[in-house]
């Protein structure tokens, strides 16, 4: 199969986009390391992959802690082999806030979990890719990387950081035949807000789909909220051998949500 003998490490794979991605890689023959801060969720993802006939291991890891990342990456290498594909998908949202009111705690938490984690995981994994003569890194950015939103300023900034970090890493790692790209989900049906301890509501989903002047102006022209599997297919494409000439790019899988 397309990913036979390739080891993939997906962070934030205990749910949502990360889980769908880990499952899809498993179906395509990859050996999947399922990373998540929530060990029970990671185990559940692994069970699903194995039930479908794939190979997987669960890795409990807080991607803001470099020592935990190093240990996780070593464990993956020993069990599944050197990592060829890294999906930096772990991320959190935060409560609605204006930028004028956002406190230091929100900034520290959001920038650390959403942005710095991408750098730390990449630093930890790249030596294994260089050893193998190449690799693939795919980061989860967002339409919020380029479209301002009124109530999640710090989140927008963290994702804009992910987008540009993607490009800077792509420049630097090109010489090793490692491509670095991102996906830009729009509004996707996941537990992002619940998992971040933030209120999620039908009214918000409605505004995302149909548009409102304040935040989600264009709504979603393709007429439906995104599903995790859409993002998973995009990640798998960018991670494929066939995508070797694509680097520094962000694939916006958002039903035209972000074109406003």
């Amino acid at each position: 199969m397309a990913f036979t003998d390739k080891t993939v490490f997906v962070t934030g794979a205990g749910s949502g986009i990360g889980r769908a991605t880990a499952e899809l890689f498993g179906q395509k023959g990859a050996k999947v390391a399922v990373g998540d801060i929530n060990a029970a969720n990671a185990e559940a993802t692994v069970r699903g992959i194995r039930q479908a006939g794939g190979e997987a291991m669960a890795v409990a890891v807080d991607v803001t802690q470099r020592e935990q990342i190093d240990q996780a990456v070593d464990a993956v290498r020993q069990t599944l082999g050197p990592i060829r594909i890294l999906v930096n998908n772990a991320g959190i949202a935060h409560r609605s806030t204006t930028l004028m009111e956002a406190d230091a705690e929100i900034w520290q938490r959001i920038l650390s979990t959403n942005l710095k984690s991408v750098l730390l995981c990449t630093q930890a994994v790249v030596p294994q890719m260089i050893e193998q003569g190449g690799g693939r890194i795919v980061n989860t950015a967002s339409t919020a990387s380029k479209v301002p939103r009124l109530d999640i300023g710090p989140y927008c900034v963290s994702k804009a950081g992910v987008l540009h970090l993607t490009r800077c890493l792509a420049m630097e790692l090109a010489q090793y035949q490692i491509t670095v790209n991102a996906i830009g989900p729009g509004s996707v049906v996941t537990n992002l807000r619940e998992n971040s301890g933030v209120e999620a509501s039908e009214a918000r989903r409605d505004a995302q789909l149909h548009g409102d002047m304040e935040k989600f102006r264009l709504g979603i022209p393709l007429g439906r909220l995104g599903q995790p599997i859409d993002q998973a297919h995009a990640i798998v494409f960018l991670a494929s051998d066939e995508a070797e000439y694509i680097s520094g790019q962000c694939l916006f899988v958002d039903g035209l949500h972000g074109q406003c």
Binding site: M1, A2, Q27, K28, R167, A170, M171, A174, Q175, Q177, T179, P221, L222, G223, R224, G226, Q227, I229, D230, H233, A234, F237, S240, D241, E242, A243, E244, Y245, I246, S247, G248, Q249, L251, F252, V253, D254, G255, L256, Q259
Partner: protein
């Protein structure tokens, strides 16, 4: 096989008997192309039962795309002005066990486009995929040179082929796709449509127009679940490359990869030229069922040649 006979009949009806082909030209025979790493049936993406039109299918990106879609089970209608090239593409598709039909036409003529697309639908049923890969980078002697010196005729011709050709084909396809509320349109733009280049203003503008047309059409067709996206190739090893970079010699290629002030200022970070198959893979992804939530997207396949 009966479709082979049908192809020969169509070919001889539309274009006269096939002429001698250039088997020793590696660009036409695909010897410089990358080998596929996974057999189509192993990578899970299927186009069985799909009808696709690919313009510019006589060479380069169009041919690579037609081959890729055909290998994955699509029936491919091949549009181009170049009869020899089309015939060679048919041969390659036959070797791959794929069904195809060639149509010689000029995509700058809107009526010809409408009629030919209607012919495809009449032969094979509803259209699923339209790939606009036909394009030029030299309309005439003033196309490559200072913008101040571009002749009106050369400017018009560049826009006619690169923009209007894409518009005519996309709209003709959309007419057939709309009642069925599904479809995939994929255009070939260029990094030159986003980053200014010296001495190529009419080409750059035509490709910038294709980019915006892609997004506008995406917005208009979203309500019909028809996605419209574009790939933006960087320096790609096709017959058009020589006229884009001022030479077909290895030195010209090396200079471009390393970077020089006229075109690829910062060079190509991935250190090599692109292959038509690289672009074809991205087109194929956009054309797949799995890509139903992407529209209005421009994806660079350029080794990071466009930095911003």
């Amino acid at each position: 096989m009966t479709y082979g006979i049908a192809v020969s009949l169509v070919a001889s009806t539309l274009l006269g008997p096939p002429r001698v082909r250039c088997y020793d030209n590696p660009w036409l025979t695909g010897e410089n192309g990358r080998q596929e790493t996974a057999a189509p049936e192993e990578d899970g993406m299927t186009f069985e039962g799909k009808v696709a039109v690919v313009t510019g299918a006589a060479s380069g990106i169009g041919r690579a795309t037609a081959l890729s879609l055909g290998r994955h089970g699509a029936r491919v209608a091949l549009f181009d002005l170049n009869a020899d090239g089309l015939a060679e593409t048919v041969v390659q598709l036959q070797h791959a066990g794929a069904e195809s039909q060639l149509y010689g036409l000029d995509i700058t003529h809107q009526e010809q486009v409408k009629q030919t697309v209607a012919q495809v639908v009449q032969s094979w049923g509803p259209l699923h995929i339209m790939v606009n890969a036909a394009g030029i980078n030299q309309a005439g002697p003033t196309s490559y040179g200072p913008g101040l010196a571009v002749s009106e005729a050369d400017w018009d011709r560049m826009m006619e082929v690169n923009l209007m050709g894409t518009v005519h084909c996309a709209l003709a396809a959309a007419q057939h796709m709309r009642p069925l509320r599904r479809g995939r349109i994929v255009n070939v733009a260029s990094v030159a449509g986003a980053v200014p280049r010296m001495n190529m203003s009419s080409y750059c503008v035509s490709k910038a127009a294709v980019r915006m047309f892609t997004k506008c059409l995406a917005l208009e067709l979203a309500a019909f679940s028809i996605t419209v996206n574009a790939v933006a190739p960087g320096p790609t090893q096709t017959p058009m490359l020589g006229s884009a970079v001022g030479g077909e010699d290895p030195q010209a290629h090396e200079r471009m990869i390393a970077g020089y002030s006229e075109i690829y200022r910062l060079g190509v970070p991935l250190g090599k030229l692109g292959q038509p198959e690289d672009v074809a893979s991205a087109i194929q992804y956009f054309a797949s069922d799995e890509a139903h939530h992407l529209t209005g997207v421009i994806l660079n396949v350029d080794g990071m040649a466009q930095l911003t």
